[in-house]
């Protein structure tokens, strides 16, 4: 019944908070657009034959010279901006979600084990986490990118970019999960149901995942949402700096980097439209994360 009320209460809060509802609608719209990009987008931005240089640098439809064929204009190659953005958001979201998933599995696993085992193992894991925190995310990503370039054969490098980027982002995000999971595990460890499970002779892994994990999911869910936004931003940053995805398979960050070249030459839409899109995506995810935190932590209400 408490679960029901909680869900109910969450629902009530949701319907009574316009900003959260707007954020959910925006996030959902972007998600649907990204997932169904191949069917929604007017052209395939990866297919060079589907666009023509003759259509290059057309402004959005409401500007002078804009055409309804390209509602948000085109870039210098004649690519339709809407298609680029939808495909870019798709890549950004795939990388963001995968990185967040890897980071949460790694972080929650380590944090849970550190909290459960304690002692020296805990000390070692948390010191590694401290070292990780001392390195800026971008530096970690650069490091992994550099190592991958050194190890991988040249013909694989291009294909592995997405994987390397995802791993780099995941590695800089796992600390959050590990710390939260560890702290919450400590709280649960002091509860007697954990001791009861221990003295029934249950396997430590079973205690960790069957007993403790379901009871610490709340705070972890909040971190997952917030870190999804961070992962997307980090990907955009790395791509913007040129160590992310190349121009032929652009993510949102790559689109923004390309758009930078036109900032001072009047073609503002090539930069601003993907940027606004990225801001809308990240802000709406963050608003949802804040909302989740409020639902799971009644004291903050």
């Amino acid at each position: 019944m408490l679960d029901f009320i909680k869900r109910h209460e969450g629902l009530w809060l949701f319907t009574h908070s316009p900003s959260v509802m707007i954020a959910a609608i925006v996030a959902l719209a972007i998600l649907i657009g990204a997932v169904f990009a191949p069917w929604i987008a007017p052209v395939d931005p990866y297919d060079l034959s589907s666009f023509s240089l003759m259509d290059g640098l057309l402004p959005p439809v409401w500007e002078e010279f804009g055409t309804s064929k390209f509602p948000l204009g085109t870039d210098d190659q004649g690519r339709d901006m809407i298609s680029s953005i939808l495909y870019g958001a798709r890549l950004s979201l795939i990388i963001g979600v995968c990185a967040m998933a890897i980071a949460s599995i790694l972080g929650v696993g380590l944090g849970l084990a550190a909290g459960y085992i304690g002692g020296r193992f805990d000390a070692v894991v948390m010191r590694i986490a401290d070292i990780q925190l001392a390195l800026p995310a971008i530096l970690t990503a650069l490091l992994i990118d550099g190592i991958a370039r050194g190890i991988l054969p040249p013909e694989l490098r291009q294909d592995m970019r997405v994987v390397v980027l995802t791993l780099a982002i995941a590695l800089s995000l796992w600390v959050n999960f590990a710390r939260t999971a560890r702290a919450s595990t400590f709280v649960q460890m002091n509860k007697e149901y954990v001791q009861a499970a221990m003295m029934q002779g249950q396997h430590p892994l079973r205690i960790m995942f069957v007993h403790i994990l379901p009871n610490i999911l709340g705070p972890l869910l909040v971190i997952m949402t917030v870190d999804l936004a961070s992962a997307i931003l980090l990907e955009a940053t790395l791509s913007f700096l040129g160590i992310g995805l190349p121009a032929d398979s652009p993510s949102l960050g790559t689109l923004i980097r390309i758009g930078m070249q036109f900032l001072l030459s009047g073609e503002w839409w090539i930069l601003w439209i993907p940027t606004l899109f990225l801001i809308a995506l990240v802000v709406s995810i963050n608003v949802l994360g804040d909302f989740l935190r409020d639902v799971f932590n009644p004291r903050l209400r």
Binding site: L2, Y193, Q195, A196, Q200, N215
Partner: protein, 317 residues
């Protein structure tokens, strides 16, 4: 029937605290040199203030932790981590906090079946379920409680669930770690009566850990008084309450409220604090607070002497 089922000799448990990655921690002597025997159908109460090692003792008996020193025998088997798994079902525990001792995300039926799932893997699902339902009735809950979550119950009902869980494996020894101190007084007596009834019915041996002397007086057969990890006095309930020998026991008893308004109150007030268990004083641990302490008490540690009524003091009453 009356052969002791639990025999403990010189049980001790030391913890290392404050150790980091590179530094070595200090040793806390949470429990040192405790002896006792526990027979079926009997209740042994362990009494003392916070930090005296009561709960550590419970953790050793229930095989959550291994003693640093000393031997523990259950059913004439010497307990070592190797045979924990096989001995576990003979010792079970009921915890103090009825709100923390049940996993909030599991239904009562599953909570009760879990000990069987782990320790009786050959039991069929139907048998387990039948047993859980039977146990629910035995502890005075109703059949429809089987499918509910712990938060739907009151503290007393939760403690009944806890007791049911402890009995699922048909243990012979049940450790009761302050089972009623978190409950209302009216509920306390219900739970205590249930425990007495179950003891008579199933021939259980209870290790009853408590700081509440009025409950102990009602419930125990034998009493061990502990102070800072050591047993300072051990005797039958009647002897302890009628003629306490150790100054600490006397002080402890003087704090129990009495219903008789005409009785003269001579409450003994102890000075000072419980010494830190980190210090490992050479003498009697109670000496810094004792009004009878002499030089002898500060330099040498008295051993627990006397068979029927043991006391660890140089100047017993």
């Amino acid at each position: 029937m009356n052969a002791p089922i639990v025999k403990a000799k010189g049980l001790a448990r030391h913890y290392e605290v404050g150790g980091g990655l590179l530094s070595k921690g200090k040793i806390v002597r949470a429990l040192s040199g405790v002896d006792f025997e526990l027979s079926p159908g009997k209740t042994l109460a362990v009494v003392g203030e916070s930090g005296c090692g009561k709960s550590t003792l419970a953790r050793l008996i229930t095989m959550i932790e291994e003693p640093t020193e000393g031997t523990l025998e259950i059913d004439d088997n010497n307990v070592t981590p190797d045979n924990w798994a096989s001995l576990r079902s003979s010792v079970q525990i009921v915890f103090q906090d009825p709100y923390g001792s049940l996993n909030p995300r599991q239904k009562v039926g599953y909570i009760l079946q879990e000990p069987l799932i782990i320790n009786r893997p050959d039991m069929s699902k139907q048998e387990r379920e039948a047993k859980a339902r039977e146990m629910i009735e035995l502890v005075g809950l109703r059949a429809e409680h089987y499918d509910r979550y712990p938060h739907m119950f009151s503290g007393g009902q939760r403690q009944r669930i806890s007791i049911a869980r402890a009995l699922m494996l048909e243990p012979r020894v049940v450790v009761l770690d302050e089972p009623v101190s978190a409950l209302d007084v009216s509920i306390q007596s219900q739970i205590l009566n249930l425990l007495v009834e179950l003891q008579e019915r199933l021939g259980l041996a209870y290790l009853f850990i408590s700081h509440d002397l009025s409950v102990v007086k009602h419930f125990a057969d034998e009493v061990i008084v502990m102070y800072l990890g050591r047993a300072v006095e051990r005797a039958s309930k009647e002897e302890i309450f009628a003629a306490p020998k150790h100054p600490y026991t006397k002080a402890l008893l003087s704090t129990t409220p009495r219903a008789d308004p005409t009785a003269t109150k001579e409450r003994i007030k102890l000075e000072g604090e419980l010494p830190s268990p980190l210090d490992n004083l050479p003498g009697c641990a109670f000496a810094p607070r004792c009004w009878k302490a002499t030089e002898e008490c500060r330099t040498g540690r008295p051993a627990l002497e006397g068979d029927a009524h043991g006391v660890a003091c140089f100047h017993p009453e």
